[in-house]
C-alpha cells in the first residue's frame, strides 16, 4: 500500500541544507497498525508528512496506493488526501466556531465520494465514540479526549483507507491517551490501516508493528 525506497528529504534553513531523512526504505501493507517512534528531530513527522502527501520527498522512490505521486499537482494531492487519508493531530485542530457535528463534516465539503447522508453518518460516528450528548457542543466545551474523538470521527467521515496520527496522545493524560489508542486498535481491527507517530514508549503496545527512526534512518522494525 505504501512503499518507500531510499527516500531522502532535505530542508534549507537559510543557506544551510539540513537532511532530515537519509534514505528510508519502508513497506506498509494494508491493514497494518504501525507505531512510528523516535525522539524530537529524528524525522518521524517528516516521514509521516511525506506518507500523508502533505510534503514531497527530495529523492528516492515513493508509491502511495500504487501511484507514483512525484509529478502530481498540489490540487490532485489534496483530492487524494481527501479520498484516501484521515488525519489526526496532537492539537486536535477542530475549528473553534463549529460544533462537533460540523467539524466532523468538514472533509465532506471537499469530497467527490458520494457519501450517503453524511450528517447521519457523522452522528453515528460521534455516538459510537460516546459523544451522543456532545454532538452540538463547541470544541471549547469538550475535554481533550472528547475533542480528539471528534477529530477521529472527522478523519473517518470520508471513509479513508489509511489513518495518519501525529502524536495523537501527546496532549492527553495517559488514561485518555490509552482510550484513544484503543480506539485506533478497534478501527484497525475493522480493517483501517493506521500509522501513528509517537515518542511515548507506553503507547507502542497498541501497534502491530513498531518502527524506530533515528537520525533520519529507520533503526528498528519489529512486530509486537
Amino acid at each position: 500500500m505504501i512503499l518507500l525506497k531510499g527516500v531522502r528529504k532535505s530542508y534549507f534553513i537559510g543557506e544551510r541544507e539540513i537532511e532530515v531523512l537519509k534514505g528510508v526504505d519502508l513497506v506498509i501493507n494494508r491493514g497494518d497498525f504501525v507505531i512510528l517512534m523516535g525522539v524530537s528531530g529524528s524525522g518521524k513527522t517528516t516521514l509521516l508528512n511525506i506518507i500523508g502527501l502533505l510534503d514531497r520527498k527530495t529523492e528516492g522512490e515513493f508509491l502511495f496506493m500504487g501511484y507514483n505521486v512525484d509529478g502530481l499537482s498540489d490540487d490532485i494531492l489534496a483530492k487524494m488526501r481527501n479520498r484516501h487519508i484521515g488525519f489526526v493531530f496532537q492539537q486536535f485542530f477542530l475549528l473553534p466556531y463549529l460544533n462537533a457535528l460540523e467539524n466532523v463534516l468538514i472533509p465532506i465539503i471537499y469530497s467527490d465520494k458520494k457519501i450517503k447522508n453524511p450528517r447521519e453518518r457523522a452522528k453515528e460516528l460521534l455516538e459510537r465514540f460516546g459523544l451522543k450528548d456532545r454532538i452540538y457542543s463547541k470544541p471549547s466545551q469538550l475535554s481533550g479526549g472528547e475533542q480528539q474523538r471528534v477529530a477521529i470521527a472527522r478523519a473517518l467521515i470520508n471513509e479513508p483507507d489509511v489513518i495518519l496520527a501525529d502524536e495523537p496522545t501527546g496532549a492527553l493524560d495517559s488514561n485518555t491517551g490509552f482510550e484513544i489508542m484503543d480506539l485506533f486498535r478497534i478501527l484497525n481491527e475493522e480493517g483501517k490501516t493506521v500509522i501513528c507517530v509517537t515518542h511515548d514508549p507506553k503507547v507502542k503496545e497498541f501497534g502491530k508493528r513498531v518502527l524506530r527512526i533515528e537520525d533520519g534512518i529507520i533503526s528498528e522494525d519489529f512486530k509486537n
Binding site: 493531530f89 466556531y97 471537499y110
Partner: protein
C-alpha cells in the same frame, strides 16, 4: 456546489458573529457608503416627485407674464421695478394671435389686509377671471368658485385661502359672511383646500381670488394689470413660447430695439433649472462621498480579512490536509469578504431608509424607494467584497499544512 456555497456563507456568518466588534468596524465604511447612496437615491426621487407634484399644483404648461422686471432664481422671485403699462387688451390680443396659446388669464394681485370683525390678516388678493381656477388647479374644498355672470355683474365675491379661513373665521362658517377689503364689504363664497407654497414661494393658502373686473373697477380703480397666466398647448416648448410672447408684446407696444423690457416672462422651467442644478451638484458630491466611503470600507474589509486569514492559518492547514484545494481556500475567503461587504450593504440600506424617512418627513417629500439604487448598491458591495478579499485569500493559500500543523519542525 450550491451546498458548498451555502456552507461557506454559513461559516462566514458565524465568523462575523464570533468577531462582532471587529466586523462592525469592517462593515462601517460600506454601511455609510450604501447609506448615503440609498438615502440620496430615495431623497432625490422624492424630490423629483415633489417637483412634479408642485408643477401640477402650479398648473401644467404655464407661462407667467408679469409687468415690471422680475428675477427668478430658486424659490424666490425678486421684483426690481414696477410698471403700469401692461393692459388687459395686450394679453387678450396675445391669445387671439398666437395659436399655441390655449388660454390667457390676466390678473391683478396685491398684498392687502383683510378685516373681519376685529380680526385682521394680510392676504395676497388676486383679481382674476374665473378660468384661473382651472388653469392653476385650484380646488375649492368648501363652497364654490365665482361664475362668469358674477364677473360680468362686477359682484363683490371672494374665494379665500385655507389660512385666511383659519385665522379669520375658524370655527365659524365663512360662507355668506362679509370681509372688508379696501373697506368694501365682500362676500365669501368659497374656501380653497390647503395647498402650501407654490414654485415661486407664494403661499397658496393666503390667497384671495376675486373677479378681475370687480377688483380693477370697484376696489383698486386701475386700468392696468399686473400680469397674466398663459397656458400653452401640450407639447409646445415653453422656452420657445417665452420668446414668442416677449417679441409679440414688444411689437404690440411698438417698443424700439434700444428700449428695455418693462415686463418679465418666465416659466416653471426657470425654477426647475436652478433646482436641477442644485440636485446635480448634490448628487455629484454624494457620489464622490460614497466612492470614498466604499474605498475606506473596502480597505477595512481588506484589513480585517488579512487579519482573519493570518489568525486562521491552522484552519487553512487543516482544511488543506483534509482535501481542500487552494482554489477552495480562495473561494472560502472570497465568500467571507463578500458576505461581510453585503452585510454592510444591507445594514446601509436599512440606515439609508431611516435617513430617507426622516428627511422626507422634515422636507415634506413623498417617500419613494429608488429600487435601482438598492440593486446598484448591493452589486457594488459584492464587487468591493470580492476585490477586498482577493489578496487575503491568495495569502491564505500560502500556508502549507506541513508548516502550520506540525508540532515539531521535522
Amino acid at each position: 456546489m450550491l451546498e458548498v456555497l451555502l456552507f461557506h456563507l454559513e461559516i462566514a456568518l458565524r465568523n462575523i458573529l464570533v468577531h462582532k466588534k471587529r466586523m462592525v468596524l469592517a462593515l462601517l465604511g460600506i454601511l455609510f457608503a450604501v447609506m448615503s447612496l440609498v438615502a440620496f437615491g430615495n431623497i432625490s426621487s422624492g424630490l423629483k416627485a415633489k417637483i412634479e407634484l408642485e408643477i401640477s399644483r402650479f398648473g401644467e404648461n404655464l407661462i407667467i407674464l408679469r409687468a415690471g422686471i422680475f428675477h427668478v432664481a430658486g424659490r424666490t422671485q425678486a421684483q426690481f421695478s414696477e410698471a403700469r403699462t401692461l393692459k388687459i387688451e395686450d394679453v387678450k390680443r396675445l391669445k387671439d394671435s398666437v395659436t399655441e396659446i390655449e388660454e390667457v388669464v390676466p390678473f391683478f394681485d396685491v398684498s392687502y389686509p383683510l378685516r373681519f370683525k376685529e380680526k385682521k390678516v394680510t392676504a395676497t388678493i388676486v383679481g382674476a377671471e374665473s378660468s384661473v381656477f382651472k388653469l392653476r388647479n385650484v380646488d375649492v374644498s368648501y363652497g364654490r368658485f365665482f361664475t362668469r355672470e358674477e364677473e360680468a355683474n362686477l359682484d363683490r365675491k371672494a374665494v379665500i385661502g385655507f389660512k385666511i379661513y383659519e385665522n379669520l373665521f375658524s370655527p365659524e362658517d365663512p360662507i355668506g359672511k362679509f370681509v372688508l377689503i379696501y373697506r368694501v364689504p365682500t362676500e365669501i363664497i368659497g374656501v380653497m383646500g390647503e395647498k402650501g407654497s407654490d414654485f415661486f414661494g407664494q403661499d397658496q393658502d393666503i390667497l384671495v381670488y376675486m373677479p378681475l373686473a370687480t377688483f380693477m373697477r370697484r376696489y383698486s380703480n386701475v386700468d392696468y394689470i399686473k400680469g397674466a397666466y398663459i397656458k400653452v398647448r401640450d407639447g409646445v416648448s415653453l422656452s420657445h413660447m417665452k420668446h414668442k410672447i416677449r417679441s409679440f408684446i414688444r411689437s404690440a407696444r411698438k417698443m424700439r430695439d434700444e428700449e428695455k423690457d418693462d415686463f418679465s416672462v418666465f416659466t416653471v422651467e426657470d425654477v426647475l433649472k436652478t433646482r436641477e442644478e442644485g440636485i446635480r451638484l448634490v448628487s455629484i458630491l454624494t457620489i464622490i462621498a460614497s466612492i470614498i466611503s466604499f474605498l475606506i470600507g473596502g480597505l477595512g474589509i481588506f484589513a480585517i480579512m488579512l487579519l482573519s486569514v493570518t489568525e486562521r492559518k491552522t484552519e487553512i492547514g487543516i482544511r488543506r490536509a483534509v482535501g481542500s484545494t487552494k482554489r477552495d481556500i480562495i473561494f472560502q475567503f472570497l465568500a467571507e469578504s463578500t458576505v461581510v461587504s453585503v452585510l454592510g450593504g444591507i445594514l446601509g440600506i436599512g440606515a439609508g431608509l431611516m435617513v430617507t424617512t426622516i428627511v422626507d418627513i422634515i422636507g415634506g417629500f413623498p417617500f419613494i424607494l429608488a429600487f435601482k439604487t438598492l440593486i446598484f448598491s448591493i452589486s457594488v458591495c459584492v464587487v468591493i467584497g470580492i476585490l477586498a478579499g482577493i489578496y487575503p485569500a491568495l495569502k491564505g493559500t500560502k500556508y502549507e499544512p506541513v508548516d502550520v500543523l506540525s508540532n515539531q519542525l521535522f
